[in-house]
Symmetry: D3
Subunit: 245 residues, 6 copies
């Protein structure tokens, strides 16, 4: 099986991190193809950057999906998820969506940790868009860019452990999600120090993508996720345009 | 891997159907152990029967879980799910919960088909208990007991196809779930005649149980899903009592 | 009038407390029959114990309801409420449900105090299951087992007064509910030290049960609360089995 | 015990109907004092009339509450309920609020019948204001003024039976509420022809008012339902003004 | 254009403040007619006072609306808004409703500051009645009556700045609303010290009233906001009575 | 004042329609600058097209906003609204958001008419993203492409009148919104045949944009709508890149 990881940031370091995280959790025999955006923000951290990212995700999907069995959107706002899900004939999973839904199956309310006060509203809106706001126990917002450097960071991980356990103690969280593509692999590293399951979107998303790829649910032929069919497109990348012919 | 299917009904025909459905979707190498209730209703169809079923699920779980890697509650009210999830050290998945969460990952609103007006409120309450009411496009309630007979039933399946497509056309459902343990395998049989993905709880639940069993999230040590620990129990089955020692 | 109090714990001390609390608030001429569970947890404090408790409630109801005019579920998770309500021909009231609905009639948002972080999620889920989450002002969780001893406890009551008033001051609660069967009578004892009405489930539940018993609303003949009718039951207590004949 | 029924309409025929309905359900020994508005609409049927009715309820409460043990707002929009509850030292119950909360204790979702498309939104807003929208199974709106004539009306009652049963069959209602002060007594008359409990606000409200009057919950001394205390009032009825001194 | 500001308090100082605030934001050529209540509370601060205020708003609207192009309810509970909107043929805007809806268009969640713990629940209920609770980031309640004195108050304004910025920092508010008619003009004065837009109901309500007056949407002829038509009214002010003829 | 209308479709006929609609409702002295997308779908009608449209909106905004006082997103999915609102220093209004919020101020629940079953879910998700789902009375979906031709269409308008009045009669809508950029001007043309106010997003959005442009609320300096500041951007249009310098 071949899973396409779409990181519509234009930052190879992030792509490398998600690819490593994905390979660590993928089933034996699953190949990971991690691609990086060709235009837009280095690391999306604002609403306008994320708006551009929607297009980037579509462009990467159109170009790289052929030959793949499923897609994971490897940006933690799940940027472009719904459009890509419609466009392709293979399953498309959002990393944060997958973390949330998997956490639901572990039981109870979910604590969320995010990086940066500025984007906290984007995550709250994302959770609400999945209809899952009532499953949230609480939020913690961490101001740190350490995660964007290569390698791990002990100080950051200690902080995340503290925040995760605080979500358990004070907000009654029964699972914790670390949002952010760069958290791939971090959840596993801090797990032993946290009293409830800790998820990241890659550790949840890759197995969910595999699951959907193995299952036999077909592409819908009606509704908003049916293939778009022949549509007139102007000035878009050839790979994108081809999808509408 | 070994998956325990707990059918807390006392009806072997239903157990056989879910076991067959489970084996049809399980990964190569996954063993299915399907067990049937030792007390309570033949097929739970009322609130009081379901109340007894909670205990039956716990008793079956305590007795049969040793040696298994994950559990699927194979009663479509997910009877005893939360209690079993707490009691055991292995992942426990509800068949209807799994269908709902998997449907979320396919995108859009969900149409649900249930059997019997009498239990429709139980399903609505179940969906609400997962915080997923806002993901529901609509409901259809079918009055038929044909599904409880061995084998398939063309007339029933034609009716289900009609109801599923009606959910798509009139209620804008983008996936359809057939609730009921006896629907195991039916979704796959009618899929080609329905314009959106059709899920049943076994086809969704067994792969989700496999996924969680393969993943490395630990049993929580805090919160309402931590192991109950040593507790004083009166007049319960030895296997159950042993869990609290 | 005769009210059946079902304490599906197997702990006589708790049964005695709820019986005393019930007698203190019952109308003149109302007889209280308080029964204790015959199997299961001493005091339910975990999800799996509560799952077993569902059955216990049904068993106690089937055995003791004949000759009674109404039932109060005297376990504060309202364990087995819906099943018992269906099974019997007399009104069945949950102690926490009754406290919540009565508090609604006193006006404004409700503060809740519960015992034990571990079961806090169970109470939140219970309130949500009644559709009343939006009426909650806030929660306070107390870690103390003092209430399970016979008699009253000054220190505990001082703590409850503090928590109740804190719910008023900081969370704008306009009534406070003390959850837990062992709180029967405590609300009345601390009332004078709290600035808003303090309810417990027995003080609210017994009068509501009397009210419904006096009223003339019939048992429904349709829907999920109609009598279950003749159903095939396996290996259940004779009194339970008789209900389905 | 003495219960004050406040009908802030200025229509004696409605007052007579609610008084008769109240006496039919009151406990032996309960005296019913039913009062009629001194200004405003004959029968409130618009938003502006209801706005005036708020004042009328307050004026009637201030004048007639002395000597009473509890109040029932006998207008089915529960007009002035919250203000009266604050103003008086005795329990104040809204007839529709009481019907809704009592129906909750009978179990399941509630069907509602109202008179007149024009005021249907007012009832929907009222139910929402109690946080109970999720408990509603469905609505039926009847266009008829027959209920405002003295006596009963066979044709109207046959229509109500039909609508109530339709709410059960098609919308899965497990109780039905007939809104409107003039429905007092009608629920009881049609009950035998409807398959689930049928409530009206007077049949539910008078017993709930008795219950609260017998109970010992005190007037809050904090929050929005505490007595208003000394306040400067301009050009209001002497009885009203006296309440703020 | 002529805008009627209805302050159904009986306090000229408040009326003067809202009039000044309104004139400061009105378009050139817009005339502001600010009227004060003729009966009821000096400054509504309790539920019963607000109940009387509903009538006061209707009375002021009936008397002063002729010749005006739109109305702003200049009481921050939007007292009598829905009734007045129905009664008149011109647009009627609630000051708090307008602030909330305008804040929505500025984007993100809204922080609210109110005066007095006692009335905090009234504001929460008001926001809920508009269906906007999910747009609220948080609340701050200030205990101060300084705003009711003529002129500005540096100490109060410093406190408001602090609370507003705290809503931004800790609750992720992206706009802040100062509730209370006497806040007219204060938002503008503190704006430069707060990091997000600060709104008051007059600064939002007057422009929204102008907008609706300029637009061409007609009075509905169906539904709950259609004119009440000929209705029988008892003992009401002549101007009010005339509206129902 | 100069208002920028961003139609991120690449279809001049739609741009012309919205420009005409905007000019018909703009205040005297307001200049309308209507721009058309340079890449992407002719008329967005699928999720993936809309994903591309987010970028198109940002690109148009970056290029054309200089010299303008406010922006109206003239695509009825409000495509790119939140990103544009963050990016620019001037107010940005979504046409559907503006219609919804303006309808709220006219009172009561809102009926919505949309074109095409395929995109109906997009509109439902959009309304939910504003937190306004509870304000919706009902939906009608029309299958017609007549609106995309130049000029008006009597048959289509008759159909819209019928659907709008049906929303009033059967779903108790008190206002009706015609979604779709091509509905600009249609609401006004059919208004006299519908019993409640009929809004379109341009007729609501242009005046709201004018209102915000006239008002003095500043650009936030904190939170998710603050200017993005200096950010590293790759391979984007020069006008876009300049915004992040």
């Amino acid at each position: 099986m071949k899973i396409l990881l779409i990181n519509s940031n234009t930052s190879q370091v992030v792509t490398d991190k998600v690819a490593a995280g994905a390979r660590a959790v993928a089933s034996p025999g699953t190949e990971i193809l991690a691609v990086c955006g060709e235009f837009g923000a280095r690391v999306m951290g604002t609403r306008s950057e994320e708006a551009i990212g929607h297009h980037s995700t579509i462009a990467l999907a159109a170009k790289h999906a052929p030959g793949c069995d499923a897609v994971v959107i490897a940006v933690s706002y799940d940027t472009g998820l719904r459009g890509t899900r419609e466009l392709l004939d293979i399953p498309v999973v959002g990393m944060t969506e997958a973390a949330l839904l998997t956490a639901c199956m572990l039981g109870g309310k979910i604590g969320l940790v995010n990086f940066g006060a500025r984007v906290r509203p984007l995550y709250e809106e994302l959770v609400a868009s999945y209809g899952l706001s009532s499953r949230v126990a609480g939020w913690r917002t961490v101001e740190s860019t350490a995660a964007y450097k290569p390698g791990s960071d002990d100080e950051l991980e200690a902080l995340l452990v503290k925040q995760a356990n605080d979500l358990v103690e004070r907000d009654f969280a029964e699972t914790v999600i670390l949002t952010g593509a760069v958290m791939a692999g971090v959840a596993a590293r801090i797990q032993s120090r946290v009293s409830v399951p800790v998820l990241d979107g890659i550790a949840a998303g890759v197995p969910q993508a595999e699951l959907l790829a193995r299952a036999c649910w077909p592409k819908p032929t009606r509704g908003s996720y049916a293939a778009p069919g022949k549509r007139e497109m102007v000035n878009v990348d050839a790979a994108v345009a081809k999808r509408y012919t």
